[in-house]
């Protein structure tokens, strides 16, 4: 009786299916704390507005920053913020990896017959994370309305693609940087400076960072493909760095590369996992 697996379907539960299942369970557990949830969602809403207010304050003094007007910068802000907010909602469970490893709970992840990544990404999922979506959506709406652009099908497609690829890029970044907890269990903040830092840095025209850093953010840590490059096309701006035209459409490739690296990093870290205590 113990050895029979008579069901014809012997395949393990598919990763994304496991992810959704666990998300549902976490949401149910979180719903027990409704008031706290509401307060935290409001706080999230408020926090996301802060960077927006900073941009508005800056533009109250000048008309352009690095050659970009307010609607243009808000477009950059809206796209990167939206992509990040969605990725944060779905993938920031990886921030808890350090605690899981430290408490020995990551072992429990590894004995389950589902993808370890799915389990970690779903960890402590709360609906409060969706509070971060409101500000960027509204901002993007306003910016698109205020931009003196003629919206062709191509432009719209690239704009939508910007957010989608940005989302994928950020998810890959969450996983890739989250792996640092496997190496140094105290270093979660370093990972945060890459994820939150990238988001912060891409809210503004990338040219404010100067040429060497700007190129590094294009070819070394490819956050330029989150919104900057494709937005140069959408906004009809010339590239201040003078990079070739085809890079405007290279976001999907950048996303694919980063995903590959993330998957590789994750698998390697699992293989070398040391497990604390007995």
């Amino acid at each position: 009786m113990a050895d029979t697996n008579t069901e014809p379907d012997d395949r393990p539960l598919w990763g994304p299916a496991a992810y959704l299942l666990l998300v549902r369970i976490w949401m149910r557990a979180a719903s027990q704390y409704r008031v706290s949830l509401l307060l935290t969602t409001i706080a999230q809403l408020f926090t996301t507005c802060l960077d927006l207010i900073a941009i508005l304050v800056i533009y109250s003094h000048v008309r352009t920053i690095a050659g970009f007007t307010l609607p243009e910068t808000l477009y950059l802000y809206g796209t990167t913020r939206l992509a990040f907010a969605v990725s944060d909602a779905l993938a920031s469970g990886v921030e808890n990896l350090a605690t899981m490893i430290r408490l020995g709970n990551f072992d429990l992840v590894l004995i389950r017959p589902v993808s370890s990544l799915a389990q970690v990404l779903a960890d402590q999922f709360t609906p409060k994370r969706f509070g971060k979506l409101a500000a960027p959506i509204l901002t993007l709406g306003w910016a698109i309305d205020a931009l003196p652009l003629h919206w062709t099908a191509a432009r719209a497609a690239v704009a939508i693609g910007t957010v989608v690829c940005g989302f994928v890029l950020y998810c890959a970044l969450w996983v890739l940087t989250g792996c640092i907890s496997f190496i140094a269990v105290d270093a979660q903040e370093v990972a945060n400076s890459f994820t939150y830092g990238s988001e912060n840095a891409t809210e503004y025209p990338l040219s404010i960072f100067g040429r060497p850093l700007g190129l590094a953010l294009t070819f070394v840590l490819p956050v330029a493909f989150v919104t900057w490059q494709p937005s140069l096309y959408v906004l009809g701006h010339a590239d201040p760095f003078g990079l070739p035209e085809f890079l405007r459409f290279a976001s999907p490739a950048a996303a694919a590369v980063l995903c590959g690296l993330a998957a590789l990093a994750w698998r390697t870290c699992i293989r070398h996992y040391r497990s604390t205590g007995s």
Partner: protein, 268 residues
């Protein structure tokens, strides 16, 4: 005298070794004082299906490391390892459906959820056919007397209740192999007895292979026909209980094992 099973072993280890390098250790707060630390040093193990084996040794001997390699948590540094035909680390997900694990020190259940919700979640994760799941759940609810606290969140269960929940959780998917890491630790005498009887019954009734790590002599005495002892990463004894104790009492023998005194038929 090491008994060699005549059927294909369900757990097979040859020259299994795990060495922890000090490279990554540099970043961790717990420093490794020596350079490389060999937790498990070339152990051989053959466990046939249906055996109930006790795995004993002093703390730091390498028991947990072995179990972690068997369950796919750790990657062996070298040596051969097969469990139920799978290579544990590489085929982790597929192996996980064939094994169950019970940790005495911590729960595998979801803290904030009622016990039965944990079980339902496990049913989905392990893809247990609904009919089978209902049957198993009913059986274990009766056998382990879970009825009165099925609705209670795991965080509000007593140690004994939680342990019964953990055991159920490990068995709902009819695993071929079950690992129990100190399952009776902290339990009162009555509960310990209940758990032992249950495990013995499980093994006899279903032929589930059980590997039991314990410090409790009574556990070994009651349950295990075979004992594997490990110290400093090496097997110091592998054989039947009867041969082990000869005409001495089990407690004396185990103490000698723990102290590292070699026995007649082992080599160091």
């Amino acid at each position: 005298m090491t008994t060699t099973p005549t059927t294909d072993p369900i757990i097979l280890a040859e020259g299994l070794t795990k060495t922890f390098g000090s490279g990554a250790g540099r970043f961790r707060r717990r420093r490794t004082t020596d350079g490389d630390f060999t937790a498990v040093d070339g152990i051989d193990l053959r466990i046939a299906p249906g055996e109930l084996v006790g795995y004993i040794g002093p703390n730091g001997a390498g028991k947990s490391t072995t179990i972690k390699m068997l369950t796919g948590i750790l990657t062996p540094t070298s040596g051969l390892l097969r469990v139920a035909g799978f290579e544990p680390q590489r085929d982790r997900v597929r192996l996980a459906r064939r094994i169950g694990v019970v940790f005495g020190q911590r729960t595998t259940l979801w803290w904030d959820l009622p016990l039965k919700d944990s079980f339902t979640l496990l049913q989905r994760l392990y893809r247990i056919p609904p009919a089978r799941f209902a049957e198993n759940l009913a059986y274990y609810t009766a056998a382990l007397d879970l009825g009165e606290f099925l609705d209670r969140p795991v965080r509000r269960l007593s140690l004994g209740q939680r342990m019964r929940g953990d055991i159920t959780a490990a068995l709902l998917h009819d695993p071929a192999v079950v690992y129990l890491d100190e399952p009776t630790i902290g339990l009162d005498v009555v509960s310990k007895h209940a758990v032992r009887e249950f495990l013995s019954d499980l093994n006899q009734r279903t032929g589930t292979t059980i590997l039991l790590t314990t410090h409790d002599i009574a556990d070994i005495e009651r349950l295990c026909s075979r004992v594997v002892a490990i110290d400093h990463g090496r097997v110091t004894y592998d054989g039947s209980i009867g041969d082990l104790r000869a005409d001495r009492d089990l407690e004396t023998v185990v103490r000698e094992l723990y102290l590292g005194r070699s026995l007649v038929d082992t080599t160091e």
